[in-house]
């Protein structure tokens, strides 16, 4: 049974624009699924609906087991509390869940370590670079040991070099624990590199135009292989057909 089933999902904005129309999608446990589509196609709206922040007008979102599992969320902006140090930002979900200070600091320190920010626990967001802030945001998403990571173009605002590095790190973090990830992006290369499966969306109103499984080598630099280039080409071609239709 799929971890998440989305069936016939439709969503219309208050201004009358139809953002999503008949979205069908299943998220399997342990997979890294990218939602890829042109900007404005409703992929972020779809993710917000999955998060429970946007209410769909039609269709349904069903989680295995009936209720939403623990989710970790990363938005396009790091959305950190500027007045709080890294450790308090990372520990926020645990604080809201009512954990005591010792327990949440221990978990936060571990999460900070996992994203490579050990030594910056007491820094405030302003003292960090854009890439480091995004790592804080990822650490906050990881701290509650979530069953699913929901990420909305998390690296879109970062420079290319930082982005490649964070893609590597995210890939390692997700595969180390077999975390299920639903990842929104508008980058073909990023989606192929990160994902085990890619769902391509149509321009607005957004629907799923098709899904592709990504075949990746067990080891080595995937980006340097001909397989990678070929699959990027396939995804681009599908995207091109979707845009032309």
């Amino acid at each position: 049974m799929s971890l998440l089933r989305i069936e016939g999902l439709g969503l219309r904005f208050p201004n009358g624009v139809t953002a999503l129309d008949g979205v069908d999608l299943a998220l399997e446990g342990g997979e890294f699924l990218s939602l890829l589509g042109p900007s404005g196609c409703g992929k972020s709206t779809l993710l917000r609906a999955v998060m429970g922040l946007a209410r769909p007008d039609t269709g349904r979102i069903a989680w295995a087991g009936g209720s939403r599992p623990r989710v970790g969320v990363v938005f396009q902006d790091p959305t950190l509390m500027p007045w709080a140090g890294v450790i308090d930002n990372v520990a926020l979900p645990l604080r809201l869940a009512g954990l005591d200070r010792a327990a949440r600091e221990k978990a936060a320190l571990a999460a900070i370590e996992r994203v490579g920010l050990a030594g910056f626990e007491r820094a405030v967001p302003r003292e960090l670079s854009g890439g480091m802030r995004m790592r804080v945001s990822i650490a906050r998403a990881l701290v509650g040991d979530p069953d699913v990571l929901l990420m909305d173009e998390p690296f879109a605002a970062l420079d290319e070099i930082t982005r490649l590095r964070l893609d590597d790190e995210l890939r390692a973090l997700a595969s180390a624990r077999g975390t299920t990830v639903l990842f929104v992006t508008h980058s073909v290369f990023e989606s192929v590199y990160l994902s085990s499966r890619i769902a391509v969306m149509t321009p607005r109103p957004g629907r799923i135009a098709g899904t592709l499984a990504v075949k990746r080598p067990a080891a080595g630099d995937f980006r340097a292989t001909a397989d990678y280039a070929r699959q990027c080409g396939e995804v681009s071609a599908l995207l091109g057909r979707v845009m032309a239709a």
Partner: protein, 260 residues
């Protein structure tokens, strides 16, 4: 570095020039102190009358700070209430505006009638003057919260109190402090106005404004100027103090206190 020094020195030089011109004007025209006292005479009066003036200064400052604290607490509570419910805001906010736009000198005589304790009269007057900028600034701050963080809190199932304490109040802190900075000067004005208005009833008020009136009746013009100088210095000191407070609290994270 030289620019910064010049920027600091410029107003000081202007002040010294004005004082020197004033001193020269009085001396050259041989003006009597009850018409216009020279700055040197005012300074001498400040020293010779220090016992009386300092006691009065303490009275005025006590009113000012009590009013500032009362205004800060009451407007904070009110702003939080407004943030919790649009209905409360719609029902009460117009009255806060009315209170703000009605001149305090017009309200003060009424307060004198209904409030007996002279200190309470001063406190009420100064609080009315001081509280609005804190209220409106804090309201603005409580509404200028990062929508992404609002989503984040909602997603994690944060309760109303958690959202208020961990998100809304810290977000509003810079605005609150900016309001407090304006209110500091206004509280002093409110205290002085209240002393002026209540001086006619001899309600035991012995603040600096009261000293000015008393000295005026005795044609002790140097003391009037000395008391005025103390009021102005207090205003500057309060502003500097609240600016420093804002800097200490915000310097690590807020853009308004970014240096260099």
């Amino acid at each position: 570095m030289r620019g910064a020094l010049a920027a600091r020195g410029a107003p000081l030089i202007v002040g010294l020039l004005v004082l020197a011109a004033w001193e020269a004007l009085v001396r050259l025209n041989d003006m009597p102190p009850y018409i216009l006292p020279a700055p040197s005479r005012i300074a001498a009066t400040l020293w010779s009358d220090r016992a009386i003036l300092l006691v009065s200064l303490a009275v005025t400052l006590k009113t000012t700070f009590a009013a500032l604290v009362t205004a800060a607490l009451s407007s904070l509570v009110l702003a939080i209430l407004f943030r919790q419910s649009r209905w409360i805001e719609r029902s009460l906010y117009p009255y806060a505006v009315i209170l703000q736009v009605t001149p305090i000198v017009a309200i003060a005589p009424l307060i004198l009638i209904y409030v007996e304790d002279p200190f309470a009269v001063m406190l009420v007057c100064a609080t009315i003057v001081a509280f609005f900028p804190i209220l409106s600034n804090t309201m603005l701050g409580l509404r200028s919260v990062d929508p992404g963080l609002e989503d984040m809190f909602r997603l994690q199932g944060a309760g109303r109190l958690q959202v208020l304490w961990l998100l809304h109040l810290p977000s509003a802190l810079p605005h609150f402090l900016a309001g407090l900075r304006i209110a500091g000067g206004l509280a002093l004005i409110g205290a002085v106005v209240a002393e002026f208005v209540s001086s006619t009833t001899a309600g035991g008020a012995t603040g600096l404004a009261w000293r000015i009136i008393e000295a005026g009746q005795r044609l002790n013009v140097p003391r009037m100027f000395a008391a005025l100088a103390l009021i102005a210095a207090s205003g500057i000191a309060i502003f500097a103090l609240l600016t420093a407070l804002s800097h200490i609290v915000l310097r690590r994270w807020h853009e308004s206190e970014r240096t260099g």
